[in-house]
Point group: C2
Chain length 643, copies 2
């Protein structure tokens, strides 16, 4: 059982200040230099200024194909009174790059002369050094070509080689040791070989951190997983301290474990930070042992990534003596309310889409355990400690993890979730690698509202009108009366009960949902599936309060299927594809129409056309959708309604 060691939680600003100041005072930096071959120096940092050894070019040479001449021989030449120069004496043939012959001082391009019986005829005077590349035109020997603390690019490699430099003095790479800690952790290879059973967990943070570190120019060694005992952790750290400039401990899964880290680090050195008021990343620990930083990186993957960004990277920069590139920034409008506790600096992953001329910023899941929120994110925004959050429509600054260009070519699809959208995305990337699809699952109604607010290019929708029994059109007319839109069919799909394999609780009808022994998992309000459920319940006179789990909401069909698969619920309403994906049973109830709504103003966009191309013309795509099961593609791509 973890015992809490109480230590003041620092603000982000305090923590960063303390970390940097302690580093500057205690740690030898920047790192010592080493001499390496210029040809192997790409991405390294100069530890000294580099001065040219030779000039480039190092001899006067012709800049054009033509004749080398003495400029003074040309001084009297005019259009009316041309001058003749004897080839082989006064005029020598010369090609671009050839050295200027001794005594000659200008080049006349071949196009500007007339060759006549052993002479060239010229029609104007040429000053000295006309069409000559003089010595040192590019690089003058002794001049500084690269300053200290500069990342070497291919260009600098060329300039060094051109000026006679074969070796360059660069900073050693910072060596960073990563020690995964946690008795429950298995390497991915162990999990594959030996199987995975609770409470064992796959250790993957070290691979994420290694990738981030290597991209930033560090040399990384990942140590074996240390068990949760003092001896194991201590001896791992001691070994890593000898072999590295910095050590990262990556806690297993739990908060309880960090107290242990704290104890060991206090014994080995001095802990200067134990907890920072940030989200994610709060349980970050920093210490200095033997004048080297030893940092405790929290175990949740998103916390680990932000702690890397906030605390590890600045130390790498100090070791290198150079600043690493920062993320590109972009301004956009927040699509919905974002609240954040005062006193905490919070970092929220977001999707960014360019809809019309505006960038729309949509927050993603904020859990520190949601690595996929980072994979799916276009970047993140920062809610400073002093701020309670942002209102919808607020202009916010986003730090981009993707290229801005990529975002400009991202089709924003907000609305109901359907598995075929993932498949569309993949076929889009295959045929149009520069186009991405970002789909946010907020339910059909949410999609219509996003279109109304100009926050999406497309909306997936399957809203059943209770009175007319018609899909989508009545809702579009009601919610978007003023917009010119096109409604295109994507699929017809079967909705039904997703139940455990073999349907052990014999669930076949809506009235079964009210049984004592049945736990239901619902979809969120505003989703088409929820509407479908509610319509049926109403028709049957069933009160939602009779259903256990009616208040438990998931946002996707896969979420519902997962809840059933994991035993959290016995049944949910959803599509066949989701049941099939997780090998569950499915009790079909009704076919419904799933359409894509597109404002007409976006129809001409290349990416919208690409989307339509895939759903209309790609037979392989259609086949794959049919194979998902429960889908009918008879009207795929057909216009259902226009306004």
């Amino acid at each position: 059982m973890g015992k809490k060691v109480f230590h003041e939680i620092l603000s982000l600003e305090e923590a960063l200040h303390s970390l940097i100041q302690n580093f500057k005072q205690r740690v030898f930096h920047p790192l010592p230099a080493e001499k390496i071959k210029v040809k192997e120096a790409l991405g390294r940092v100069t530890a000294e200024p580099v001065f040219a050894k030779r000039s480039s070019p190092y001899f006067h040479s012709a800049a054009m194909d033509g004749y080398a001449v003495h400029s003074k021989d040309t001084f009297n030449a005019t259009e009316k009174d041309p001058v003749l120069l004897k080839i082989g004496e006064q005029a020598l043939w010369i090609e671009t790059g050839d050295p200027l012959p001794e005594g000659f001082d200008a080049v006349i391009p071949v196009e500007e002369v007339n060759v006549k019986e052993g002479f060239i005829e010229i029609y104007k005077s040429y000053p000295p050094y006309h069409d000559v590349r003089p010595v040192g035109e590019d690089i003058v020997a002794t001049e500084m070509i690269i300053p200290e603390n500069h990342f070497i690019r291919p260009f600098e490699i060329g300039a060094m080689l051109a000026s006679g430099i074969l070796e360059v003095v660069v900073r050693k790479k910072p060596k960073v040791g990563i020690i995964p800690t946690g008795s429950e952790l298995l390497t991915p290879e162990e999990a594959e070989k030996e199987g995975l059973n609770p409470p064992s967990l796959i250790e993957y943070n070290s691979s994420v951190l290694k990738g981030l570190l290597e991209k930033d120019g560090a040399e990384v060694k990942v140590y074996p997983i240390a068990k949760d005992d003092e001896f194991s952790i201590k001896s791992s750290i001691e070994k890593a301290l000898i072999e590295n400039d910095m050590v990262l401990l990556n806690a297993g899964s739990g908060y309880g474990k960090e107290d242990f880290t704290y104890k060991v680090l206090s014994e080995l050195g001095e802990v200067i930070i134990n907890g920072v008021a940030i989200k994610p990343g709060k349980p970050f620990i920093a210490s200095f042992c033997k004048n080297k930083p030893v940092l405790g990186i929290p175990g949740y993957p998103v916390s680990a990534i932000f702690c890397y960004q906030l605390f590890v990277r600045p130390l790498i920069e100090l070791y290198l003596g150079a600043k690493l590139p920062k993320e590109e920034k972009i301004k956009g409008l927040l699509s919905r309310q974002l609240s954040s506790p005062v006193g905490v600096d919070e970092f929220v992953r977001v999707k960014v889409g360019k809809v019309g001329e505006k960038y729309i910023v949509s927050p993603l899941g904020r859990g520190a355990g949601l690595l996929m929120s980072v994979v799916r994110a276009d970047g993140y925004l920062w809610i400073p400690a002093g701020i309670e959050g942002f209102s919808p429509g607020k202009e916010v600054e986003v730090f981009l993890w993707r290229n801005k260009e990529e975002i400009d070519y991202t089709l924003v699809c907000i609305g109901s979730h359907d598995n075929t959208l993932d498949v569309v995305y993949n076929f889009l990337r295959r045929k149009y690698p520069h186009i991405s699809l970002s789909s946010a699952h907020v339910g059909s109604m949410g999609g219509l509202i996003a279109i109304k607010k100009g926050e999406a290019h497309l909306a997936g929708t399957h809203l059943l009108d209770e009175t007319t029994g018609e899909y989508n059109i009545p809702f579009i007319k009601r919610i978007l009366p003023e917009r010119s839109v096109v409604l295109v069919n994507l699929v017809y799909r079967i909705q039904g009960f997703i139940v455990k394999k073999g349907n052990p609780k014999n669930i076949f009808s809506f009235s079964d949902l009210t049984r004592e022994d049945v736990v239901f998992i619902n979809r969120q309000a505003g989703s088409g599936t929820r509407l479908l459920l509610d319509k049926h319940l109403k028709d049957l006179g069933i009160n939602p309060s009779q259903i256990r789990g009616y208040d438990q909401e998931e946002y996707t069909h896969m979420g519902v299927a997962q809840a059933v698969a994991s035993g959290r619920a016995d049944v949910g309403l959803g599509i066949y594809a989701a049941a099939k994906a997780l090998d569950l049973d499915f009790i079909p109830l009704a076919e419904e129409r799933y359409d894509i709504l597109i404002p007409k103003e976006f129809l001409d966009l290349e990416m919208v056309q690409a989307f339509l191309d895939i759903i209309r013309n790609d037979e392989e795509f259609k086949k794959m959708v049919v194979n998902l099961g429960g889908y009918d593609v008879r009207h795929m791509g057909k216009i259902i309604y226009e306004n």
Copy 2:
């Protein structure tokens, strides 16, 4: 002697279109897939979508330290009417990450309970799955976690490992062979070992291209230099075609050589492009041999870099099936006129500085041989074929080669050139790695005008007033009457004649410059040194037309020294440091004051303070300046004048 093969010069648009269309029709792409370890997949491109094998987490686990309970046991608890749950039966201690015990469905955080004699007391009801991380919260087994044609980042490596994936199918790396061609070329190593004599040239383009290609994910093989004969080039290409997906020929120095390339490529395959209306990069050649692209990249380094960017990179993207990151773009105001021939797409390297709120864009040297113009550039701008150029003050778009953040921290120094500025730059980077110094050499007068126009933070100036004999201040009063400025001394320096070693022409006075056998090299109009010369000539009654070479201008002291060292001139006026750097003789004439002018509005900027810190407080810096020779630092950093 090169024989011209006439071939239609294509526009950039035509050339790109032809290249891409031919590639798509003739070349197998994207490249085939290979299966590699996920841990080694950083930066690779997925060749298939990746679907999760396991859910993550794969069991329900506690999200907090506390007690696992049955949620239904808590339903009646209130603040007034707390409920007691028996520890060990109804409530089990659980730590973050631990699996939820069989049958339990919620976690109550330890902070929210009161432990009382074997019971916990609770004060509210908890719904099912309260503080539980349900199975699949992050990743649901079977869901698509990465689409096809996606660059794998550290995040995706984590997500794959977390979901039980150890191997991933990625595109093979495109293999690119580079063949340097040219009988006059030596490798840098050969030049070092065997010495370098005209017309030999150091071959360095292959290293630049290799670096660019490797950054973009290609596998590069550089072949031995091919001599300029048909057999040598042909057999190199044939070998490289077997071993690679694409071959780049990099012409030696001359235009004459490319005709030869054309001949060989026509025999081996089909030439589709021979010359493009771009600057630099016009002699680009593209062919397809055995269904692989073989491209002739021009020999000038800047041409090679732009041809890489314009033509090679898009083909790498097609091989990979994914888009490479594009340069960040920025808008800025052009500092001076830029003309460009109509019908040619021109790419101009520029410096960008943020002065006040504006980004100021200053074109650099446009010669295709000026590799240093790329090293020094912050990016480039594109003058489309249909445009004659841009006027000063025009808002232009710059494609950045540096980070925007780096540009924001670049001190812009425009004006007279002094070698100490290079030294300042290096000491700045050493102490303040995030600050850069960009110095443009346009002469003292140009510096004052740049300050007036708000285009520089600092101006180096040494303008001698003919009538008062005073430095700088009369000019500042005249040109910048309305600006609040500070004039800070940098150095006193000796100006004199830079002459060949041993002063073979016995040049000791200004009147020697008028001698028949003496060739002078001048500085540009508006430079302090030119003013100094003109003042002396006027005092002595010497007419500039009496001086040979008076019209030959260089923009820096080093340029003047280089002209003397290379024999282009016998004498120039300049500073001692330049003569010393190139081991020339120096005839001292006068000490002059070289100051830095700073508008007061910029004094508080961190980078201006850093600059002043270096020149005022860094003793090592002062020592280094003194060691350059010809400098006196007695007033370094002192305020000379304020307004």
